[in-house]
C-alpha cells in the first residue's frame, strides 16, 4: 500500500494510520487490568488518537478550492 498523490487523500491516509495505531494500543491495553495498561491506554493510545483526529480535522480545513478543481 502506498500513500496517495492527492494531498487531501494522503492526509486522510495518515490520519487513518495514526488512528489505527492508537486504537490498536487501546485494544491491547483493554485486555489487561493493570496500572501500566491504564497509563499506556491514556498516554500512548490517547496521543496517537489525538494526532489522528488533528490530522483528519486539518485535512478538512486545508482543502484548497484550486486543488479540488484540478482533481476533477
Amino acid at each position: 500500500m502506498s500513500l496517495s498523490a492527492n494531498p487531501l487523500e494522503r492526509r486522510l491516509q495518515l490520519s487513518g494510520i495514526l488512528l489505527i495505531l492508537g486504537l490498536l494500543i487501546e485494544a491491547i491495553c483493554l485486555f489487561r487490568a493493570r496500572p501500566l495498561s491504564f497509563l499506556a491506554f491514556l498516554a500512548v493510545g490517547g496521543t496517537f488518537l489525538f494526532l489522528g483526529l488533528v490530522v483528519y480535522l486539518l485535512s478538512l480545513v486545508s482543502v484548497r478550492p484550486t486543488s479540488r478543481r484540478s482533481d476533477s
Binding site: E9, L23, L30, R34, P35, L49
Partner: protein, 210 residues
C-alpha cells in the same frame, strides 16, 4: 474479562477495520456519502471507542485486583485475610462491610467533592513512585494525609452500632469529636490496627472466600 470490556474491544476492532478501508481506498471520500462516512469512521468512532475505553478503565481501576496487581501491595492484600477481628481492614473485607471487589477503593476514596478524581490522581502518583523512584518497603508506606473520619462516616454515620455503641456513648464528647474529625477513628487507640503489614508473619490467616 467483563462483557462490557469485550464489547468495547469488539467495537475498537470494527472501527480499525473501517478505518483501514479509508486508508486503503481514500478515494471513496470524493462522494458526499463517502465524506459523511469518513467523518463517522475517522472522527466519531475513535472518540466513541476512547470514551468507552476510558470509562471501562476507570471502573476497573477501582477493583481490589487492580490495586493488588502491584507487587508492593501484595502484603496489603494479605492483610485483608488476617483471621483477627481487631484488624480493621480484614474485618471490613471478610464481613462485606465493604464490597470485596472494590475493597481498597471503598475505604481509600475521598468522599468529598472530586474525591474519585483525587483518588485517581493519587493512584497515578503511586504508579510514578513504583516505576520511577525507589519505593519504600510495604511496612513503611504511609498515607499522603491523616485518614479522615469522613471516609468512615460515609457508611457508619447514623448506624446504630456507631451512634449507640457502648464505647462511643461512654463519653458524651466522643461522638461529636469523631464527627468533627477532631479525634481520629484509626489513631485514637480504638481502631488503630488497620493493615499492620509488618506483623503479618505472626498472625493466622483466614482461607475462606469473602
Amino acid at each position: 474479562m467483563p462483557l462490557a470490556t469485550g464489547l468495547i474491544i469488539a467495537l475498537v476492532l470494527i472501527s480499525i477495520s473501517l478505518i483501514g478501508v479509508f486508508v486503503v481506498r481514500p478515494g471513496i471520500t470524493a462522494t458526499q456519502g463517502g465524506k459523511v462516512m469518513a467523518f463517522l469512521v475517522l472522527f466519531f468512532l475513535p472518540i466513541l471507542c476512547t470514551g468507552l475505553g476510558v470509562s471501562s478503565e476507570l471502573e476497573r481501576s477501582k477493583t481490589t485486583k487492580f490495586c493488588l496487581s502491584c507487587h508492593i501491595m501484595e502484603s496489603y492484600g494479605q492483610s485483608l485475610r488476617v483471621d483477627d477481628p481487631t484488624y480493621l481492614a480484614a474485618a471490613h473485607f471478610q464481613n462485606h462491610r465493604v464490597p470485596a471487589e472494590e475493597a481498597c477503593y471503598t475505604c481509600h476514596a475521598n468522599y468529598a467533592m472530586f474525591g474519585s478524581m483525587k483518588a485517581k490522581m493519587a493512584g497515578l502518583r503511586h504508579v510514578y513512585v513504583y516505576y520511577f523512584t525507589k519505593p519504600p518497603a510495604p511496612e513503611n508506606i504511609k498515607l499522603h494525609e491523616p485518614y479522615n473520619n469522613r471516609e468512615c462516616l460515609h457508611c457508619h454515620l447514623g448506624a446504630r452500632s456507631f451512634e449507640q455503641g457502648a464505647v462511643h456513648t461512654a463519653d458524651p464528647d466522643l461522638l461529636p469529636a469523631l464527627k468533627a474529625n477532631k479525634l481520629s477513628c484509626v489513631s485514637s487507640g480504638c481502631h488503630e490496627v488497620v493493615h499492620n503489614v509488618g506483623t503479618l508473619s505472626k498472625v493466622k490467616m483466614w482461607d475462606g472466600q469473602p
